[in-house]
Each structure stands twice: as C-alpha cells, then as structure tokens.
Amino acid sequence: MNEEQLSALLRIKRFEQPPPQYFDRLLQDIHRRQRSELLRRPLWKIAAERVQTFFSEHSMGHLSYAGALAGVLVVGVAGIGLMTAGPAEVGPVIAKTTPHEKLLNIDTTANSRLVLDDTPSSPTALPGYLPAAHQPRYVIDARPVSYELPSSY
C-alpha cells in the first residue's frame, strides 16, 4: 500500500459522524451538566458571589466594597479571637480544684513526697494563678518539712 492509497483510506474516516440529532442532544447534555456543576459549588463561593452581586447591584464603589469587606474581616477576626480566648481559661485545672481541697498529702515509700498546703485559699485569688505559698513543694526524705516560704530562711 502506497502513501496515496493510505491517505485515501484515511480520508474516508471523516465521514464517520454521529446521527444529525446528536449535536442537539449534546447541547442539552452540556446545559444539564453546567446546571449540576453550579449546584455542586462550595457554599463559600456562592456566598462570595452573592455579596459581590449585592454590591454591584447597589452601584457601590470599590472603596465602599473594600470597606465592607474589611469590616467583615475585622468582625471575623474578633470572633475567632474570642473563641480561642475561651479555652485558655480552662487550662490550669489544678488551680481551680485546689482551693476546694482541704489537704492532699501523698506520702509514699518512695524517695520523695508531694505535699500540698492546707491553708484556706483566698477568695480573691485569681483563677489560674496559685500563689507561691500555695504551690506544692517536693520534699526530699530525711529533711524537715516546712510550710514556710524558702525566702523566710
């Protein structure tokens, strides 16, 4: 088979076309697909588009649009800040529970003992803060236990 015969054979393939109504159906299929893709868009994209449409419909300038966007951002950042500040107070669990416990004196046969103060806590004490005098001290065996502050020696 020579080059010319091959080219002639290949040219026949251009007549392989779908039925004429196929292209009308294709257009409908494309429309259907475009609609379904629109519905599958993420929420934030739809929201952003609506905000943009709102500002464009009310013929507001770029500056007012930027101002409003900045406002939304500030509120958002403040909200996030408040939300993240909350859990920080929960942090020191010992500080909250300690004032209500009378005494915790762990005496084990091990080489060290954990001693907690039994002094009533001050009602004005800030939650999350334990004064130095109230903090547990680790006392090594064979030494006298003292409740005095180290600075008082």
Binding site: M1, N2, E3, Q5, L6, S7, A8, L9, L10, R11, I12, K13, R14, F15, E16, Q17, P18, Y22, F23, L26, L27, D29, I30, R33, Q34, E37
Partner: protein, 195 residues
C-alpha cells in the same frame, strides 16, 4: 484553516460569553462540535467515550473561557483542550476498550471523493465498507496517542502542519516526523488487508 470573518465572529461570541451571555457559548458549541467530534472519535474509536469526552471538553472550556485572552484562535484553543483531554483519557483507559463502529454517514455515498475512491481499481473497491472501517480503526488504535492525534488532524481532518503544531505545542518538524512514522506503521498494519 480559519478565515478572518470566522475569527471575528468567534471573538465576538467569546466576548459575549465572558460577559455572561450563555447563548453565545452555545453558538460556539454548535459551530465547533462536529469537527471536535471527528477529532475525538478518531482518536478513541468509540462513540460512547467520545460523547463523554465532548461533554468534559465543553465543560472545561466553559470554566476556562474567562481566562481566554485571544493569543490563539478559539479553534486552536478548543482543539488543544480536546486533544489533551483525549490523550489523558486514553492513557487512563489503557488497553480496556472496545471499538464501536457505526455505519458511515449516508451522505458519504454522494460524496465525490468517496465515489472516486470506491470506483477506481484500488483494493478498497473490493472490500466491504464495514470491514474497511474496522481495519482502519484497528490500525489507528495500534498507533501511539501522539501519532494518532497527528494522523487524525492531518489525514482525516485536513489541518495544515502549522495548525497541528500550534494545537499540540510542538514544532512543525516534529509534526512531519510523527506523520512519517505513523504512516509507515499504518502501511505495515494494513499490508495484510491490502494483499
């Protein structure tokens, strides 16, 4: 490949589409789908796959048309999307495919070129038309994706080398060399049919 008037019309339709006029995009779909179908079908040899790919290609084009800046013609742009998506599809499909051969369009019987081809004393005259199609499609499927794309655009769709080079993003020399090797391979595959 594309005259100035056609390109001007395309530019107008693209501008309207970019401004949000969906009917303008429909006009582009109607205008280019038959040629695009030929390109994709001759690369896949399967009408169902071609139908799926056509929808994928036009969906991608619609999503990307906002970024179309007119550096190339819409014709080149949509064909580039078509070829790339089809090659990616073929790579994923691998060897698992079946040829779906429909009857040649009835218009072909009245086509001058077709009449000449089947009337002269070529091997084609003796062959059954459906067998001919089958052989050709099988031979085409034996080519690599890149070679098949070049043969489809040049031999079947009649595009010039320069246009193919633009669509594929390669040099004209590469187009010519791919065509040369593809033709040699096809000739070898069809030798049995010829004899």
């Amino acid at each position: 490949m594309q005259d100035d008037l056609s390109r001007k019309q395309d530019d107008e339709l693209i501008a309207r589409t970019q401004a949000g006029d969906a009917t303008a995009f429909d006009e582009l779909v109607v205008k280019y789908s038959p040629r695009l179908y030929g390109l994709v079908y001759n690369m896949t040899s399967n009408h169902e796959d071609t139908n799926d790919l056509m929808q994928d290609i036009w969906s991608k084009a619609y999503r990307s048309i906002a970024g179309f800046r007119g550096k190339s013609s819409f014709y080149t742009w949509i064909h580039s999307i078509g070829v790339n998506m089809t090659i990616n599809f073929l790579k994923k499909r691998g060897r698992r495919f079946t040829l779906s051969l429909d009857d040649i369009d009835s218009n072909v019987q009245h086509d001058k070129e077709f009449i000449e081809l089947t009337a002269t004393s070529t091997p084609v005259r003796e062959a059954d038309l459906s067998e001919l199609q089958k052989r050709l499609n099988e031979a085409m499927q034996k080519l690599s994706h890149d070679h098949r794309a070049v043969v489809t655009m040049f031999d079947i769709q009649g595009m010039p080398h320069a246009e193919i080079a633009k669509i594929l993003g390669i040099s004209e020399g590469t187009v010519r060399s791919r065509l040369f090797y593809a033709h040699r391979q096809l000739q070898n595959f069809l030798t049995e049919f010829h004899s």
